[in-house]
Amino acid sequence: MRDYLLRRLVSVIPVLFLVSLMSFAVIWIIPGDPTAAFLDASSTPEDVARLREMLGLDKPPLVQMAEWYGRVLTGDLGQSILLRIPVLSAILERLPLTLLLATLALILAVGLGVAAGTFAATRRGTWADQSVMSLALLGLSVPDFWLGLLLIVVFSVQLGWLPSGGYVPLLDDPLGWAKSMVLPTITLAVVQVGFIARMTRSAMLDVISQDFMRTADSKGLSGLYIILRHGLPNAMMPILTVTGIIAGALLGSAVVVEQVFALPGVGRLIIGGILSRDYPIIQGGLLFLTVIYLLINLVVDLLYATIDPRVRLE
């Protein structure tokens, strides 16, 4: 197991390198530069050139790239052009909100999804199965940003129960914080609940139809015992894969939810970086998200290996 962990850790390095190359490619491909955020439409090309020089953007891309790798190896992601602070502190400042949002949504999604999916699988073909799965399908089919807009109109404008967005620090006002997280969490989780419920159900059905389950059944063991002892663990592989994917997808969808509900998270930081061409933020942000993704995938793979020893032998 330790060898496996070591091998997986080493394999992360080329991925990080690939991603950093890709983020450079992104920066090379996209037109425009950070001066645009500062300047209006009547500015002259001379004005643009002047500001470029003032912001230290006049170095050739290759030089910038070399400098960047030099710094990254020492743990320095550089300085944001617009925000005037180190990229790492900008990210760390925004990270808690995004992670919290994603975690709340993941807990909600996995809890509800696995329960609903297992429930439906054990009652295959009944009206209960069909209603639970119809709900899951409905959740899966909703455009999340659209749901967020509807929730704002209903719960903020019409009923006035919950805030339409904005950031409330937990320590300043715990109740206000809780209220401000409700709509974003629901918006973020709804799609994933449906996804996990579906995957859980189909994985469970796969397992139920396999021989050892039929054997367990023929031995006369109780239904719930069979599901919990034999069914769920054997359905874990697909469920894990999906949960890993979802954890990643949540970070992506958080971007949208942060935008709709005006929450200052990492997603908006990177979107803002893209829209204002704040290159260090784009590069640093993408690299950082990559690290998180890789960690999630690593954990999922390790769990694979734990559940199914055949995997780690290869």
């Binding site: 996209i30 037109p31 425009g32 530069d33 950070p34 645009a36 955020a37 500062f38 300047l39 209006d40 439409a41 009547s42 500015s43 002259t44 090309p45 001379e46 004005d47 643009v48 002047r50 500001l51 003032m54 912001l55 052009i81 617009l82 925000l83 005037r84 900008a90 925004r94 807009l149 704002i152 109109v153 903020s156 404008v157 006035g160 805030p163 339409s164 967005g165 904005g166 950031y167 935008q259 709709v260 509900f261 005006a262 200052p264 908006r268 930081l269 803002g272 829209l275 204002s276 061409r277």
Partner: protein
Amino acid sequence: MRPSLKALAFAFGLMTALVGVTPAVEAAGGEIVIASVQGPPSLDAHVTNAQVARNITLHIYETLYARNENAEPVPDLAEGVSVSDDGLTYTFKLRQGVKFHNGKEMTSADVVASIERYRKIGVSPALVAAIDTVSAVSPYEVAIKLKVKQSVFLDNISSPRAPIAIYPTEEAAKGANEIQYIGTGPFKFVEYKPDSHVTLEKFADYVPNPAYQKRDGLAGKKEVLIDRVTFRFIPEAGARTAALESGAVQIVETVDGPTAERLRKDSKYVVHDVLPFAFQVIKFNHAQAPSDDVNFRKAVQAALDMQEVMEISYSGINQVDGGWVFPKSAFANDAGLDQYNVADFEKAKAFLSKSSYKGETVTFITDNLRPNVDIATVVQARLAEIGVKVDIKVADWPTTSKIGFTKTGWNFWTHGFGIEPFEGPGTVMSAFVGGNAQMVADPEIDRIAKEFYATLDDAQKKELFKQFQQRMYDNMVAIKAGNYGLFQVTSDKVKDFVPFRIPRMWGVTLAP
């Protein structure tokens, strides 16, 4: 004996008056939250001319001269100015006892350092291009010597575009976007949380300019009656309005027409129309076929119905007006306006047949702001009627402006002209000098502008501006679709708010 009805009414009136007055005194203080669309790229006033930045920076910093309610330059940090007979030397006398937010008094050294910094790194260098030298004559006197006579120099020095803000000497020594946010304004900077908010608080040691009795544009008496102001950035229009209606914010910087209409019916809100706020302009690229052909450009103008264009993109807050200054300006005239808002497909086709257009697809670039995309969409539909195929390219602002600043890759580009008409005819003209906007210099416009900047005679300036406007139409340099405005909405708790381009937070009170 019955008390007289008159006496009773008087007593009642007095009581109401007293009751009415008392809370106003208690109401001093409090925090006003303003919902804005997006945050500023920087709070270093010298390095950005983005509107979102100036809304905030003009609360923190001040300039020697500032624009009053009618956009004319009047003294702000300066007491006044004396101009030498040759028109080349401007000597500004500074107000005494003006404090920076760090407690230091402002003197001529700070002014010289700030203007020098602007000349080096300011993003609107045209504002200071005429300056030859800046020097301190005494602790409270600064002399600016110009290279050539410039009729618009005071307009420039007072411009809010990328304001020539006065910083303390130490800050003025720092590079672009590297300063501490310290100014002399009525509010001081507290914090900036990007993508969330900017908070300012009342500057306790602020001494309002004694030369004024009341608020006057960005100058005048700036008396702060609240404790704090927070600008909260909410990109989603629905969420901004919801925040207002739930009481989380008291002012919304801008709402759309239908929302304004709805809120106007509700006594809890006051809707202020800031109209005109800006021109909507459709630029032509004269360096690329077929928009290099004046008949093609005239065909486009003739095809458009400006009421449709403006009403779709800025419903309920627009003026169908083809003049290249705002209608109330002293420079307003009707030169060339017979060619504006023709909305005649037959005329358009006649122009088109005289042009070099051969049925190729023309490119309309726009950023992804809804009204700009709307205008591109309307123009596309209208031009289809006369057989011109338009391809719309929507991208974000950096990409669009990158293309729009070059000679290839576009034929039309639409956006607002906000600060230019506010600053006055000189700035509007300068946008087209040397082919800056249209990519090919127009010698006639360059001549008119040069003469305009050199003369100090008002009548001659008006005559020259008339020629400019005529030329804009005769050569169809660019299309001005109309004027648009902003709906600023305040909650009924916000008292004494007077709408302006920039939502000013001085002179405003907040009822409990």
